[in-house]
């Protein structure tokens, strides 16, 4: 054996050679060289974190993304808004009504310590609630009550700072953007993954079986590719989902009897609860029109894999088609699929924005960057900030995904020229 003749490599050398053999290490080291892609990746991680942590951010800043204030609309950035007297008094009235005993206790305490000087004793809490924020908080700290947290929260809510100002309904723009990140990136990622799965299945079927299956599937793919996407999306977005799904319920009732009908009805009701149907609808229609490129890519890859020896070998060994496709072929197409998914996210975000911008995408009050831009464009001269911010965010995220995809492609495919 040759190893016995030559000096055997030292253990560390061997280790470094072996580790450098792993595919992902190569990819990673190549990827690191693509500065823009790395920056993009960091930005994406940041936005993903924002999206995931949106409720935490909301809790930490104490501003509610949905709380509207019609008296403080279109406030410029860096504005502090203070709630008017009637809002304060209504809040404390509700508090007194719901916790009568506790309220009396606090009232007595307030009067006893002479912290407020009301005209009539029953006005003590009303006077307290109208105090300046720091004073009110200071006062409540000295009082012993089980409802302290609730009252502190109430006082905190009366004064809110808006870093990016407020929108047309007086909502905090920063929090809207944070939640918009959730919707926009969520839709983008979901669509990209779903369309990758669809494309993977269709491409694999067409590529592996060939013949009539291939012809039919590829004709459908080509036809869909030749549809003018935006106009068709406009039509589909305008379709009443309830009507279509109502038909679905009727069909399943016919097919599977009442049980099936009920199940379908429940499914439909689920979709329409919580005002989220516009998201489902958007994800659905974007998926419908974005799997084709993936399908073509996978088909091409599978076609060439089909003729490879290891596939022939497993065929002769009697492996099922399923095993061959899933176990032997899919691992070989993961890399290009990953690239295509990454690039797909950017496209989906752009389409979501475009449809929402036309008023046909995500429906208010749920924020998405696209519909925020749509809402802002009417008053673009009075409140340009409202339009510019979501626009910049869309741009940043899409460009990050595109750079990431580019970086991955360069790293994965040794044939491409490195920059």
């Amino acid at each position: 054996m040759s190893e016995t003749v030559n000096t055997p490599p030292s253990a560390t050398d061997l280790k470094s050679i072996e580790t450098s053999q792993t595919f992902f290490q190569i990819v990673y080291s190549q990827f690191k060289e693509h500065t823009a892609a790395v920056i993009g990746a960091y930005l994406i991680v940041f936005f993903m974190l924002v999206a995931i942590l949106a409720p935490a951010i909301e809790w930490a800043t104490g501003t509610d993304s949905d709380s509207q204030n019609v008296f403080n609309r279109y406030k410029p950035p860096f504005t502090t808004v203070v709630a008017p007297q009637d809002v304060r008094e209504n809040a404390i009235q509700t508090f007194i009504r719901t916790n009568p005993e506790e309220a009396t206790k606090i009232q007595t305490a307030l009067l006893a310590k002479n912290l407020v000087q009301p005209v009539r004793p029953e006005d003590a809490l009303y006077d307290w609630v109208n105090l300046e924020k720091s004073k009110a908080l200071e006062t409540i700290q000295t009082i012993d009550t089980s409802k302290k947290a609730e009252l502190i929260k109430m006082i905190n809510n009366f004064q809110s700072f808006h870093l990016f100002g407020t929108d047309e309904l007086g909502r905090d723009v920063l929090m809207r953007l944070v939640y918009g990140t959730r919707v926009s990136i969520g839709v983008g990622v979901l669509v990209a993954i779903a369309s990758a799965v669809i494309g993977l299945i269709i491409g694999a079927l067409a590529g592996y079986y060939g013949g009539i299956i291939d012809t039919v599937l590829m004709r459908v793919t080509d036809s869909l590719l030749s549809l003018p996407i935006l106009p068709v999306l406009v039509v589909i977005a305008a379709i009443d989902l309830k009507k279509v799904l109502g038909g679905l319920v009727a069909v399943s009732q016919n097919l599977f009897g009442d049980a099936g009908g009920n199940l379908a009805q429940e499914f439909v009701n689920n979709i329409f609860s919580g005002g989220k149907e516009s998201i489902y609808k958007l994800v659905f229609i974007l998926c419908l029109f974005s799997w084709m490129t993936v399908a073509r890519l996978i088909r091409g890859a599978i076609l060439s894999l089909r003729e490879r020896e290891f596939i022939l070998a497993s065929k002769t060994l009697g492996a099922t088609d399923y095993t061959i496709i899933v176990r032997h072929m899919f691992p070989n197409v993961v890399a290009p699929l990953l690239v295509s998914v990454t690039l797909g996210v950017g496209d989906s975000i752009l389409f979501e924005a475009a449809l929402s911008y036309l008023g046909l995408g995500i429906q208010p009050p749920m924020p998405s960057w696209g519909n925020m831009l749509f809402n802002a464009q009417e008053l673009i001269y009075q409140a340009p900030f409202l339009a510019v911010l979501p626009g910049i965010l869309i741009f940043l995220v899409v460009v990050s995904f595109n750079f990431l995809g580019d970086g991955l492609q360069d790293a994965i495919d040794p044939k491409t020229v490195r920059r």
């Binding site: 509207q68 509700t94 309904l169 429906q363 749509f374 464009q377 009417e378 008053l379």
Partner: protein, 576 residues
Amino acid sequence: MKNLTGILLAVTLVVACTKKEAGQTADVQAQSTTGTKLTNNELKIGISQEFENFNPLIASMVATTYMQRMVNRTLVVIDADGKWVPQLAKSIPTLENGGAKVVKLGGKEKLQATWEILDNAVWGDGTPITCEDFALSVKVASSPNVGVGEKESFTQVEKIESVDKNPKKCLFTYEKAKWDFYQLGNFYPLPKQLEEAVFKKFGAQKEGYEKNSLYSKDPTNVGLFNGPYVISEMQLGDHVTFTPNPKFYGVQPHIKKIIVKLIPNTGTLEANLRSGTIDLISSLGLALDQALAFDKKVKSEKLGYEVLFQPSTVYEHIDLNLDNPFLKDVRVRKALNYAINKEDLVNALFEGKQQPAIHSITPRDPWFTADPAKVTVYKYNKREAERLLDEAGWKVGADGIRMKDGKRLSFTVMTTAGNKTRELVQVYLQNQWKQVGIEVNAKNEPARVFFGETTKKRAFDSMALFAWVSSPENTPKSTFTSKNIPTAKNGWSGQNYMGWSNPQVDKTLEALDTEMKPEKRIEMVHEVLKAYTDEVPVLPLYYRSDVAVIPTQLKGYRLTGHQFPETNVVENWNLE
């Protein structure tokens, strides 16, 4: 190749540098655009809605109606004060002045009225307007092959014949003896000398007349128009140019050329105005929010514009679904109404530029009343609302929302998604109702789903917020009578989305159509309004206002706030 990139880079640099100067040039620019002196030579009007071919029988878009009045006139019209006045007619025939009378023809009660057309009223080509032009309109509108929108406004006239051998003195015989026979505001004549031949030739084909009418084949033919202006150029989807009609029967207009330009994106209307692409934003342009913001800017920067607000007949309200088990109780409906502070609402959201509503009839309508003896007026009264709810058995629960039999007093208010004003109102109302212990959730749908499915099929579970467009002295039959409750059986026809059924109201409104005495009609309407406000099938909110932005030097411009727009007096507009 090198040069090209060099040039490109240079261009990019120049652009980048000029961007920095943008801030400094802004003020200069603002002054120069608004400082431009306008003259009577030209006025450019911006609209934000699409318009269509001008055939007055077929056109139905609001933007076309807006422009139609500049080129075509009718026998009568409602003026800016809300009164019916003659236009092509010398006077309005009435039963009192003997111009109209009820007759028995073939066993049926009919009405005949004599309309006399102005002697100098001619078409743009000089042909006098005669009774035959009106007769042609009726003939075309009656044809089953022509897609006339509002057919009844033409076919209510059975026969038109000239009397006393005077081609301009016409005897109209109406199908039914209805009191509102003289309201022929949309009854346009057709130029017989041009259109009769077309109708003869193509009228037998389906849509044959529409396709071949000179209004679509030769839209700039002066003979098609009788108003102060004629169309000299038209491009659908972009603009229409109007020039004075020298044959116009009235005073010659002051402005030598009017261009109406379509700017579909309301967000860029202001940019177009300030960059001088347009000089005026018509009532079909800005949203109220934009107008309020622009009004402030005009005042603070002293721009040469005036923002006009005119209360209109558009009635914003909430239809209550009376099939909802909670809403079946009239006390709950009244409480909902008492809990709304409408005065506050219009002040907070609209800066007082829109008016609160107490029922469906506007203050400028002769039928209007706010007399507490005649109708029930709901002044904001939180305590009364709470009292009514307590009485109805709804007790305040732990979270401040009222409960009864283990159920929360919770409703869903639906409206058109993306309509900012309505969404604002929604939020405002939610807040006010919460204060009396009523939970209201918002659910919004795109307009076409909302109107095409939800309201049409009464698929809203409790509340629907939207508007009715009305006009003075318009019978509320289609929204009030039980016959008009949409059901699957009647093919979802009718607009009584509340499901309000009151036999007395049905009867009164049926009788209203043929009641000839104006005082009696007012009494009947008040009777209906009494029921409407007592039973609260609808929560009235406010009347919308029309808004327009005009250059300060424009005189004679007055918004009307109803379906006959300001272009009715376009000949009075003057820039000098």
